[in-house]
Symmetry: C2
Subunit: 193 residues, 2 copies
DNA sequence: CGTCTATTTGAATGTACTCAAAAGCGGTGG
DNA sequence: CCACCGCTTTTGAGTACATTCAAATAGACG
């Protein structure tokens, strides 16, 4: 298993010595998740933070009316998990499901704590991840408030380049908060330009 | 100036010794902000995390079409700031404005770093704040995707009890992502039940 | 090839917006 | 103290955006 991707990801924010890299990678656990299998389901405790080395996942809830709502997609080079459940070790509310055969590198809470103790700069790394995720969510709220479905669809295409070729349209619709029928109509209209 | 409120807030997540409390409060700076004055404007660097002791603020952006969009309201007992700008010491994108005469307790980045060094458990405290804010944002995204304006209005009333009496309706509309006219119509309809 | 699910299409409906104008309300100056 | 100004809220008509329901078509997979 190669750690190139994850080490490159970490090095975007912090600098590690070779020894620290070795410690870090020794704490990781590589896992394959087949398409349509779950990394997490509501009620379970999220025991890992997960770095996606290859593949693609979606994070969603099912509301009381039985409707799915996709919070986010995650592709190669992104971290995914249920932040709240992981840190509080409380039951998750989210589904996290592979949409392709996916390889993740996982770190559990115990390993995370050891990492913080031995390589404190990782506190900074994960805080930056959290901040970025927070800001991304904030932007998404503002987008949903400001823009029509068509504008949001264009932004989705920018934000997740190529992803529209990898995931079913109805999931993109769910992410955008519109019906699959309406997305289909939008695409038809947009194509005609 | 009384530190009761802020100490009570901190004690919800971490436990401090009397000496630690003294250090913490000595790092705080109390500030009055008159109604309609700004705590932060886009382009400025957010130099403080702010705990609201009394009053009420709103955090918003103005989009390229000149429309205001309220990201959040903050009342007594809440922390407010521009997370990204504060941690990266980069220009803010948000307006933070007092909607009443407001008293905040501020801590700047230098003081924060000293606090982390001398009372490391504060790392945990602010991480929990950030996580909670993240989860709150996530829920708001899902609400905007799942619910009609009427349902979102009810949830606003639950989430910010009494705030509808303190802020103009048009700001509530901005928070909900609807026009003031439509909120007015909604209220009329809901009153008739 | 058949089955299951995803996507498209269309008509009818509902939700929310725009534009315009009237009514309400708070503050300020004469 | 009242009149006026500016801003918020309400009201209504017409329109645009997005949904629902139903059915046809197209793709994916065993």
């Amino acid at each position: 298993m190669s750690f190139d991707q994850i080490l490159k990801n970490v090095s975007r924010h912090i600098r590690l010595t070779p020894e620290e890299e070795i410690l870090f990678t020794s704490l990781l656990h590589t896992r394959h998740i087949a398409c349509r299998d779950f990394l997490l389901r509501p009620g379970e405790v999220c025991r890992w933070e997960n770095f996606i080395d290859r593949g693609c996942m979606r994070t969603y809830i099912i509301d009381e009316k039985g409707m799915e709502h996709i919070v986010s997609f995650s592709v190669e080079g992104w971290w995914v998990g249920d932040m709240y459940s992981f840190h509080a070790q409380a039951p998750a509310t989210l589904y996290i499901e592979a949409m392709e055969d996916t390889i993740v590198q996982q770190i559990d809470k115990t390993a995370m704590e050891r990492l913080y103790r031995e390589v404190p700069v990782f506190e900074r790394f994960f805080r930056i991840l959290l901040q970025n995720a927070f800001v991304a969510h904030q932007n998404r709220i503002l987008q949903n408030l400001s823009f029509t479905a068509e504008e949001r669809y264009r932004q989705f295409m920018d934000h997740y380049p190529g992803l529209d070729q990898r995931v079913p349209q109805k999931m993109i619709a769910s992410y955008l908060g519109i019906t699959p029928q309406f997305l289909s109509a939008l695409r038809k209209k947009m194509a005609g330009k």
